[in-house]
Symmetry: C2
Subunit: 209 residues, 2 copies
């Protein structure tokens, strides 16, 4: 497929480029150079050109990149030309919080399923989504054709739940639980626990404020 050889770090930068391009589009800009785009996203011009060249030559010598056309190309590369159904697993404080967040659907990710093992929650609705029983997860994931999960369960059961998700065909997990998940090859995980990120930031601060 040719995908294997592109470094993960390159892929992680593409959505950031896309962000900046969308902003340029809103400002009515037609073209942008790698130097200017690099300035916006704090990446060197050479790196942007190198990253893009993994996928093709999208620019034009002398003028730069057409904003709309590069947006289209990046969206195609990242498979963003469709609405992705997503399941939220674990409807505690954080899960409920994310269910209420409107930002996903605006960007093409639709939360179509939320589940928990708490009988008090099952059957209730949050933001128009009825919380379903985690025991129905296999059938629900298959029925709704879901490949992506947001994991917001306690650390203690995160690996067990992950094993289930992987068994049921989930291929991508956004992990809010504070641990490193074990997944087989072909399943992709991004860790996003805000506490871990804050713990990185405190290193740079002066203690005993």
């Amino acid at each position: 497929m040719g995908k294997q050889e592109i470094p993960d770090i390159v892929i992680q930068r593409l959505p950031v480029y896309l962000q900046a391009l969308n902003q340029l589009l809103r400002e009515g800009r037609g073209v942008v150079s790698s130097a200017e785009l690099g300035h916006i996203v704090d990446v060197s011009a050479a790196q942007i050109r190198k990253d893009l060249s993994f996928f093709g030559g999208f620019g034009k010598q002398g003028s730069g990149y057409n904003v709309i056309s590069l947006i289209h190309n990046l969206r195609a590369i990242l498979n963003l030309n469709q609405i992705w159904p997503v399941v939220i697993v674990g409807v505690g404080n954080l899960g409920q919080a994310l269910l209420k967040y409107q930002g996903f659907s605006r960007k093409g990710f639709e939360i179509v399923l939320a589940c928990d093992n708490n009988p008090e929650l099952i059957g209730t609705s949050i933001s128009g989504i009825e919380i379903s029983d985690v025991r129905n997860l296999a059938a629900d994931i298959q029925r709704l054709n879901i490949q992506m999960a947001i994991l917001t369960v306690p650390a203690g059961c995160a690996q067990t739940v992950t094993d289930l998700l992987v068994n049921y065909g989930i291929k991508a997990i956004l992990n809010y639980a504070p641990l490193v998940l074990k997944v087989p090859e072909g399943v992709h995980v991004i860790n996003i626990d805000p506490v871990v990120k804050l713990q990185t930031l405190t290193y740079y601060l002066n203690a005993e404020d």
Copy 2:
């Protein structure tokens, strides 16, 4: 200070090591080797030893690392032996969500201030925190001695708000807004927009599910 020369990527791994060590502690383990710790966090044993050696020799040849003692050392390195006051700026869907999340205080981060510019929100309380007027931000940050901010405002005003925060003395920002913030040297930003992370994951999925 000697801090300058340690790569950011090393610092980012330390909270993950700490996570694993805390779990080992809960399981009653007294010592752990770099090989076993590496297996848990999916990092090579050599890398763990190298990372730790930036800060000192915490292990013992032949047996490995004392779990409790390494936890203490990592907590000291990361400045985690204190409660850090945090401000949440922007109390929309995501900001409210994070205000209700109990996970911060359990790990030593206390949300002591939440602010917004919406008059309908100002004065109301969420999870025991009264939403204050963003116009009082300078005084509030100084009074509460806050160095860390969680930014959950719309992208359109994120840079403006960031400039204010930096002016008021904020040194670390956990940024949920979908854009790259410009900050002066000495101010640290980690980007954590879940939509950007999902957009990275879709690259690896098969389109047209």
